[in-house]
């Protein structure tokens, strides 16, 4: 049971990551593999702020997220938007985003080295809380609480505000929003900002459990994609479920098979879903294929 709780906690962070990815994907319709790396850079910045300037965790996390948003916006306007305008297929953009991922990953390695950086909400070792016989550490509590809060805010924003409705509309039928005279480019940029912000928060949360390494950029975007695909691309609720499922499956895998098989479990889950139910749990949009 403890394993499942641990899985749910880390899964909620995966879910947040997947939600951000799903949100961006449903408006731009290409896979941006650098998504996870930009998020991890946000976590690195938070780490640096905490260690060098003794900022508290939440403030550092927000500051790091802002830096990530900046990088995300730059990459969108300098690389992705021009490529879309030149008529690049989603596959070409995917490969280019991989190039960006490699560059960012290695720059991070140069700045922060390849060692794993540990992150915690406080300097002292705090005792865990007891919840119905299960232990939950303060770090875990932070992850779960912030992830839940962000998802709630996002859900309210999308469902109850006018702008949120426009964002949902673009993800639903972009052609039609153009016909209605909406400023689609502006809204897409806003989505990029929101998605990147969420991803950086998520990466900083996950860092509480697994630390920060340059290679996490790749692993996190893969987890985000897995969560988003399992839940059904374009569905926020789906990404939530997908993330939780992934977190629990991974932790069960670690317990029964050992930590080394973690990635294998994740990818096998992905493969199973792509083969058996490619539209995900809450089918909204089919995975847009290039062929």
């Amino acid at each position: 049971m403890q394993i499942i709780l641990n899985g749910l906690i880390v899964g909620s962070a995966y879910a947040l990551m997947g939600i951000g990815f799903s949100l961006i994907y449903s408006t731009v319709r290409y896979f941006n593999l650098a998504y996870g790396m930009v998020a991890v850079i946000g976590a690195y910045v938070a780490y640096t702020l905490m260690n060098s300037w003794s900022l508290n965790y939440v403030i550092a996390m927000l500051a790091g997220a802002l830096v990530a948003v900046l990088i995300g916006m730059l990459s969108s306007s300098i690389l992705f938007k021009p490529m879309v305008r030149r008529g690049g297929s989603s596959l070409v953009i995917l490969v280019a985003s991989f190039g960006l991922l490699i560059i960012l990953q290695n720059i991070s390695a140069l700045i922060w080295q390849n060692t794993t950086r540990a992150l915690s909400i406080s300097d002292r070792i705090l005792p865990g809380y007891n919840l119905f016989g299960l232990i939950i550490t303060p770090n875990q509590l932070m992850i779960g609480a912030v992830a839940l809060l962000m998802m709630l805010i996002l859900e309210l924003f999308l469902k109850k505000t006018r702008y949120g409705m426009a964002i949902r509309a673009i993800g639903d039928n972009q052609e039609l929003t153009k016909v209605l005279g909406l400023k689609t480019e502006q809204i897409i940029l806003a989505v990029y900002v929101i998605g990147t912000f969420i991803s950086a928060i998520s990466a900083t949360l996950i860092a509480l459990e697994i630390g920060i390494r340059p290679t996490h950029g790749v692993t996190l975007v893969i987890k985000a994609i897995i969560a988003a695909i399992i839940g059904g691309l374009g569905s926020i609720r789906g990404a939530l479920l997908g993330g939780l499922l992934l977190g629990v499956a991974e932790n069960l895998g670690i317990y029964f098979l050992g930590g080394q098989w973690q990635d294998t479990v994740a990818f096998t889950l992905l493969a199973v879903f792509l083969l058996v139910r490619p539209e995900g749990l809450f089918a909204k949009k089919r995975l847009v294929s290039v062929n």
Partner: protein, 238 residues
């Protein structure tokens, strides 16, 4: 003064010229049809008028003012466009679909008022207002698209093949609704269509387009009586 007017409108896709110096106009309160065989360029003309595709030659005037058509400019100028086929937001409720139609209107009170007006005009939509549009049939979607287009209280409706993929009985319903809109709200309508029989019943004026050129234009009686129509569809022209 014409509501919308185009002079010498030409459209090319790359080297391929698909619309040749078309002169077109629609007056307040008119129902005008653009007809012709497949590939005649009817949809292209409509889309060029609304600014969804760029025109390579010619001028467009809205309300007497020259402009370079762009969707948001046209919407602000009182024109609503219903594209072919995929015309609604499937993952949103009926009410949200309508609200999206009025998106550029900032004043929420006006939007809500208009929403109720539109619902009164389309009672079958009002009954399911909170339901998702996902499960709607083709005909229902077309009606929803029409209702959505009305949310801006437009002076001109542009419809691109509204009857496509619909059963004949539903097509009749859709065209009846279009006629009702024209009579009740005084909205002008430009329709691109294939399905002529029903359309000829409700339209005032029409254009016959073949291979990007206007073969004949005039009041509907004139078109019906001429043999140009038949010839156009049997490929004897152009």
């Amino acid at each position: 003064m014409n509501l919308l007017e185009a002079q010498q409108l030409s459209v090319s896709y790359g080297q391929n010229k698909v619309v040749h110096e078309v002169n077109f106009h629609v007056k307040d309160g008119e129902i005008v049809i653009l007809m012709g065989p497949n590939g005649a360029g009817k949809s292209t003309v409509l889309r060029a008028l609304f600014g969804l595709v760029p025109h390579t030659h010619g001028e467009v005037e809205l309300n007497g003012k020259r402009l370079h058509p762009r969707p948001h400019k046209m919407v602000e100028g009182g024109v609503s466009f219903v594209p072919q086929g995929n015309t609604i937001f499937s993952n949103m409720s009926i009410e949200e679909n309508l609200l999206m139609g009025a998106f550029h209107e900032e004043e929420q009170l006006k939007v809500e008022e208009r929403l109720e007006e539109v619902f009164q005009f389309f009672p079958m939509l009002a009954r399911k207002r909170q339901q998702s549009a996902f499960a709607m049939s083709g005909g229902e979607r077309q009606i929803l698209a029409l209702a959505r287009a009305l949310m801006t209280s437009p002076r001109l409706l542009m419809l691109d093949e509204p009857s496509i993929g619909l059963a004949p009985k539903i097509v009749q319903e859709v065209f009846d609704k279009i006629k009702e809109i024209n009579q009740v709200f005084g909205t002008a309508v430009v329709v691109v269509e294939h399905n002529l029989k029903t359309l000829l019943q409700i339209a005032h004026r029409g254009y016959i387009l073949v291979a990007g050129k206007i073969m004949l234009e005039g009041p509907v009686e004139k078109l019906r009586d001429s043999d140009v129509l038949e010839k156009a569809f049997f490929g004897e022209l152009g």
